[in-house]
Amino acid sequence: MSASAASLEDLAAARQERPATLAEAAEVLRRADRNGERLFFLGGGTELSLGAPPDGVDVVLGTERLERIVEHAPLDQIVTVEAGVRLASLEDLLAASGQMLALDPPWASRATLGGLVATNAFGPRRTRYGSIRDLIIGISIVRADGTEARGGGKVVKNVAGFDLPKLMIGSLGTLGFIATVTFRLHPRPETERTVRFPDLDADGVRRVVLALRQAQLEPGAVAALVHEGGDDLGVRFDGRFELGVRFEGFEAGVRQQGMKLLELATRQGWGAESLGAETARSFWARHDDARESPAGFRVKLAAQPMDLERVANAAVGSLFTALEVPRCVCYPTLGLAFVAGEVRVPGQVAAAVTAAREALPQGSVVLQAAPPEVRGAVDVWGPRPPAFALMGQLKQRLDPGRRLAPGRFVGGL
């Protein structure tokens, strides 16, 4: 949970709508259309600081009462939920039939499925199962003009019509209101085992990632935490990481893969250890803490996986110097990382962001939370994407009145 004061005040001052049914939700959008009101969609409120503060908000449509599980078909391994269903409660339901939604983003007890889609949230399981775009199979939305529409369906394999579900992922409520979402499910793994590399530099992490692939190992999750090289003055980044590799699945495969990785690490002198249940929990709890602790500032870094050293040197290092209580989680097989902390000198943090952008020209550096002083100095999204004109056209076609969280998205869309 991260705060962005300006935007939260706007939200509190707006009219609050909490529809109990999808029909009521659609009516809220139709009324807003008639009255020319600007809307902001609110799920669990875990990622309110994403994007730029909207230009203005007249109505907040909260999904907290839209919490029905519309359909769970265990034999078909699909589930359809209303937008306001919390991830943790869905997980409980699915666990009873030995299934899971292979999505493990932060704040599962509060985050809603609608919000997770709108923010393209993810966690370490993305390593194996992909992101929401690999899990979503259907969506129903309410357009800015109040029209209810649907894309995809409830079968995994389906190429009929345009893929509206994917279009809504990460759109931050600027293209339409996500009413229901259908996901494909996966079997819950029988068991899991984590192998930990306590002390690697960025090149070491990169070499482990390559070695995993070379050895045809298929981990369910790979995450690197910044090595705790701090002293009494706080945490400093000394260029070293602690890497966790988790295998999930049937016992036979998990055991074989864990042993193979340990052998490999021994041969290479990488000093790995297989964690017991307790220590594994502790490693992943530290991962979760690093992602979930409140932070006034958070940035998402994206680069090619093999560029990890550059990410570490040019981005993580300078951000750690500029931030107080900094922390970092890297997903080295994906080339994605988060750095969070508190801002002491806004100019220094803004300069670190600019430097990171220059160091990663093929990648992206997106501010996910930041105080107004930092937002004023650097654009939260960074340079406009090459296809920005098409994105603008899309926004224009679906929200011609610019009434859905106007200005929140990339380039002021």
């Binding site: 939305i141 389906n158 190429v159 997106v366």
Partner: protein
Amino acid sequence: MSAPSLVSPAAPAAAPIPPPPTVVDRLIAVVGDRNVIRDPVDLRTYECDGLTSFRAAPSVVVLPASTEEVAAVVKIAVEAGMPIVPRGAGTGLSGGALPIPGCVLLGLSRMKRILEIDLDNGWIRVQPGVINLDVSKEISAAGYYYAPDPSSQSVCTIGGNVAENSGGAHCLKYGFTVNHVRGVRMVTSAGEVVDIGGPVLDPPGYDLLGVVVGSEGTLGIVTEVVLRILRKPEATRTFFATFPSTDEAGVCVSEIIGAGIIPAAIEMMDRLAIKAAVAATGVDWPDVGAALLMDVDGNAAEAEHTSAVALAIARRTGALEVRVPKDDDERTLMWKGRKSAFGAMGHLAPNYIVQDGVIPRKDVGPVLAEIARLSQERGLRVANVFHAGDGNLHPLVLYDAKVPGQEHAAEELGGEILRLCIRYGGSITGEHGVGADKAPYMAEMFTEADLDTMAKVRCAFDPGTTFNPSKVFPTPRLCGDRPGPYRPHATELAGVADRG
């Protein structure tokens, strides 16, 4: 589908509408004389794709060799007010590359270079005319492959795969084309070149890539593709099992999946399909009611474990016989039997229609029973080959075009099967695309509001509806004005008329 106005495979399309001479001159200036095909006889090569019952002649075929040439051709066509129909290898089964009278057919087959390979970061950049299987061949020695494997993978192109969001037997575990495309370079209807996505994940902005893949050539012309490539799995275990009927085979599939196994592929064939495969490829499969062909892959210990569990389930659920291939050659032969199933129908009947519908997996039993009933009612044989793991049916309706009325009856039967899929909450296409063939059924699967929303997306990309108009959508749509609610004509509902 079901269009008496459309000509049969034997008859050629109406003569092409000649392109304006100035257009031809300008196109020649861009791509060279030999890459502008306008001789009516030569144009006949392009008058259909894999769906041969739909034919129309393009005005002109242009074969560009670069992104710049594609952009120049698009500008010329737009200025001349000519629609553009893109085409890869022409293997599509839904008429997605069917020419529209008066169109420029943009053939991308000359753009077949592999541009860049980055194994460490897991991607490869290719031109759209590269053959699907050639991607895997290129990186196979290094131990990598490209996962989506449509049955036509030895001839179909990546550009066509991107347009159709192609699947294949192994997409049950590995996903479809959309899950393996990281980025594209695309020429827009304004003739501009844009990059959408790229090797790095999560580029800021809307997921335009997600909607471009599978848009069937209606949003832009893709001229480069960045594909995700995978390390080959350590082990693959295959088995072939026979059953008295599709009922037992269906139960077997459900139980395997219920046991928490995600097979890399699990394919079912019914008696008629088995017969056809035997006739076509010489596999020594017995005359039984149903057969399953399954792959599990992954690390060796897991593949051993899951294949042992799956085998036990097959025996428990009534398998008559279970065969495990003794070597790679035998495995390849088993898969050849499955992958050649469509073509094999030629051994059973002079003509056939391939259908492509999806149903919730748990409903395979009742849906197959209904298909059997429809088949009896109409007096036409239907062979079933399908991706059982994800409920993607490929009923093959057999007929003889020389018998008056049979082709029409076969098309009607195909349509009834699609309606069955819609009724069970499935889809009218799992991997072949909507194209021209299934556009009429879109209005049965989706509401007018759904289609209107999709049309808005299209208008954002192509406000002049230059790219592949009359495909995907059941009614022509213009951008700028909002069409009234669509009401299907009674003849369409009956499946005897068509709005293609």
